[in-house]
Structure formats: C-alpha cells, structure tokens
C-alpha cells in the first residue's frame, strides 16, 4: 500500500508540477479567468445594479448561481440525514448503570440496572460515566459567551448583503453556539435546548424555505429562482425583489445549516444513542 501510495503521488505530482509553469502568474488581472470580457468583470460591474447588493459574493451566491447554492443546502441536509441514518440507534437499552451527582454534597451515586432512578432536579444531576465536565468556570464562561455568539450570528446573516458573511456562516455560528452548550455541560443539556426532532424538522424547513421560494417564482410565471416574480406579490420594484429574495433564501440556508450541524453533532458525539456523549 505504501509503494502504491508513493507511486500515485509521484505520478500526480509530476503531472501537476509540469503544468504549473503554464499557469498565468498569480495575481495576473489579465488571465482568462480574471480578464475584462469575462464573468469577473460582469459580476463586479453589474451585480450592484442588478440586485442592490454590494457584496458581490453574496449576490452571485444567492442570485446568479443561486441554483448551486440550493443544492449546497441540500448537500448539507443529506449529510445530516446520512449521519442519522447510519448511526442512530433507537433501542432504549442504555448503559448498565447510571451516575448521578448530589449537588449539595458533591457525592456521586451509581445506580445499577433495575435500581430506582431519582428525579432529575437541581439537587440530583445526571452525569456521564466517561466524561464528567463539572468545571464551573468552563460552564459559566460558555453560558455567558453563547448569547453573544448568537447575536453575532444573526448580525452575520442579516448583514451578509453588505459585509462578509451570510446564511452559511451565520448558520454555522448558531449551530456552534448550541454545540458549545453541549460540550461545556453535557449532551443532554444540548438536546434540551434543541431536540433531535426539532433539529430534523428545522433542517427540512430551511431547505423548504429556499426551494419553496424558488418554486414560488416558478408558480408566479417566471423561471425557477427568478426573484423578479416576487415583485408583483410584494408590490416592490424588481431590483428590490431580488434584494429581498436573497435575504429570504439566506435565512433558509441559515436555518438548515444550523439545525443540521447540531444534528450531525448529536449523532457523532453519542454514536447514535443520544444519551451520553461529549
């Protein structure tokens, strides 16, 4: 296997390096990809005029090549489905024994199978058998940081038209905030904030917002994804309709990405049991 690897690498390396010398130099504004008569020029000059979005990347992402981005959302959604499908185990077998901490005294109780389980409350906290994060500094710091992350995420989504950012980045940040809760407390704390079913439905809803907006344009008599069609519905100018269409779509993307990231994390971190995990 080692020799095969070296052989492939050497062959590919020789081919690739041989070709690098034919490339235009880095930063060459006149290379075919960047030159005047091509797409780069068109997007930079016309994107603001067409959509009223100064961030050209957002405009191209959600409008000119919005069809790609719809499938990008579908890719992430299928990854969520795939992780669930491969890993999730619904059997309620669980580990043989459960562990609880009696908070006032700090005593850890082990309750074997068949024993009476205490009610989950402030006094009795269930803890994991392998991973016991009970560092107050970590927990409280994370709890303090989470709202700020979420507000920043919302800013990133809403302000993606004017600055770097957009649905993906914001969605991942939102998802990360919930993952942070799950990491700093335990998995069940995360699941309390966003249940598995909630994550799954929200993922569907996100993709549905995107594809639904696009299909709505089709039903209104225009091409698929052509936000101009929304202008009649919303009583606004076509350019503004494109601007708003991009915003709606970005919200859908953010919703889907957030939910799916959390969903994948639940399945990976507990190997599908959703019981104990990182």
């Amino acid at each position: 296997m080692k020799i095969l690897g070296w052989l492939t690498v050497l062959m590919c390396g020789a081919l690739l390096i041989f070709n690098v010398s034919e490339f235009p130099d880095m930063g060459d504004a006149n290379s075919p990809a960047n030159s005047k008569q091509n797409l780069s020029e068109y997007f930079l000059k016309k994107a603001y005029h067409d959509t009223k979005v100064p961030n050209v990347v957002t405009a191209v992402l959600a409008d000119y090549r919005g069809y790609d981005t719809m499938y990008e959302t579908a890719v992430i959604f299928s990854a969520g489905l795939a992780c669930f499908f491969l890993l999730r185990i619904f059997r309620k077998k669980g580990p043989k024994s459960r562990f609880y901490r009696h908070t006032p005294t700090g005593v850890t109780l082990r309750i074997d199978e068949g024993g009476k389980l205490p009610e989950e409350s402030d006094v009795f906290k269930r803890i994991d058998s392998i991973w016991i994060p009970h560092d107050n500094i970590v927990r409280i710091t994370c709890r303090l940081v989470v709202p700020f992350i979420q507000i920043f995420a919302l800013y990133v989504i809403a302000h993606g038209h004017y600055s770097p950012g957009g649905g993906f980045q914001g969605g991942v940040l939102l998802g990360a905030s919930i993952i942070l809760i799950a990491v700093s407390n335990n998995l069940r704390a995360g699941i309390q904030r966003m249940s598995e079913k909630g994550a799954a439905l929200m993922g569907s809803a996100g993709v549905l917002i995107y594809a639904g907006t696009a299909a709505l344009c089709l039903l209104l008599g225009s091409q698929f994804l052509n936000y101009n069609a929304l202008a009649k519905l919303l009583h606004i100018k076509p350019v503004v309709a494109r601007y708003n269409g991009i915003l709606i779509v970005e919200i859908g993307v953010a919703l889907a990405v957030m939910a799916v990231m959390v969903w994948i994390y639940y399945n990976l971190s507990s190997a599908g049991k959703h019981d104990e995990g990182l």
Partner: protein
C-alpha cells in the same frame, strides 16, 4: 527557475504540495481517521487552488462601494466567482467529513479498531 518565478506562482506550488500530502495520506495511511484527515487536506488544497485563481494584484475584497456615480473598475477587485464556488466546496467538504466520521464510528463499533490491516485480518479469520 529563479526565485522570482517560484514566488510568482508560490500558491500554485503550495497547492500541489498540499494535494500530494492529502493524496498520500488517503492512499497509504493505515488508520481510518488518518485517511479522513488526509481527505480534508486533499479537498482544502483544491480550494486553495481556486482562491489563487481569483487573486488580482493589488485587488480589493469583492465588496463594491456604491455611491452615486461611482464606477467600478473591475481590475481593482478580486474575482468573486471562484469565491462563490469555493463556499460550496467547503460546505461539501464538511458534509463529506461528517458522513465519513459516522462510517468510521460504525466500523469501530463493529471491529473495535480503526487500523485497516487489523480489520482485514479479522475479516479473513471469519
């Protein structure tokens, strides 16, 4: 091959090296998670390649100012199209990573190891 030529295409050389590192890990590493890490490096290398295409010397980030009567000079901004494509590629990368790790966990549950030679030995014994 003087220094200037190497520098002028520095990122292209870098992307080739990263691609080869990733490819090597993907093909000849024995541990499954190591292979997955190689896969991520491999994909990121291609993204670096695309971003390098988009660079224009002295260019700005592709957010156009929009005052009245402002005329955008395209040579002053980076090419936005490869950026858009690579946003998609990054997301595809993380999706693949998630599925690959899920499969690796399943393999570990089945055989209790992530080393490919040990797993193959177990399969042969069955």
């Amino acid at each position: 091959m003087d220094m200037a030529l190497i520098l002028a295409k520095a990122n292209y050389w870098g992307y080739v090296i990263l691609l080869l590192i990733g490819l090597y890990a993907l093909i000849s590493k024995n541990n499954l998670v190591k292979k997955i890490i190689g896969m991520v490096i491999f994909q990121t290398a291609v993204i670096l390649f695309y971003i390098t295409i988009a660079v224009k010397k002295g260019g700005n980030i592709p957010i156009t100012p929009h005052g009245k009567g402002y005329v955008v000079e395209a040579a002053n901004f980076m090419n936005p199209l490869p950026h858009v494509l690579m946003l998609t590629a990054i997301v595809v990368g993380v999706a693949t990573l998630g599925v690959a790790l899920a499969l690796a966990i399943k393999v570990y549950k089945q055989y209790g190891t992530l080393e490919e030679d040990e797993i193959n030995a177990m399969i042969r014994e069955q």
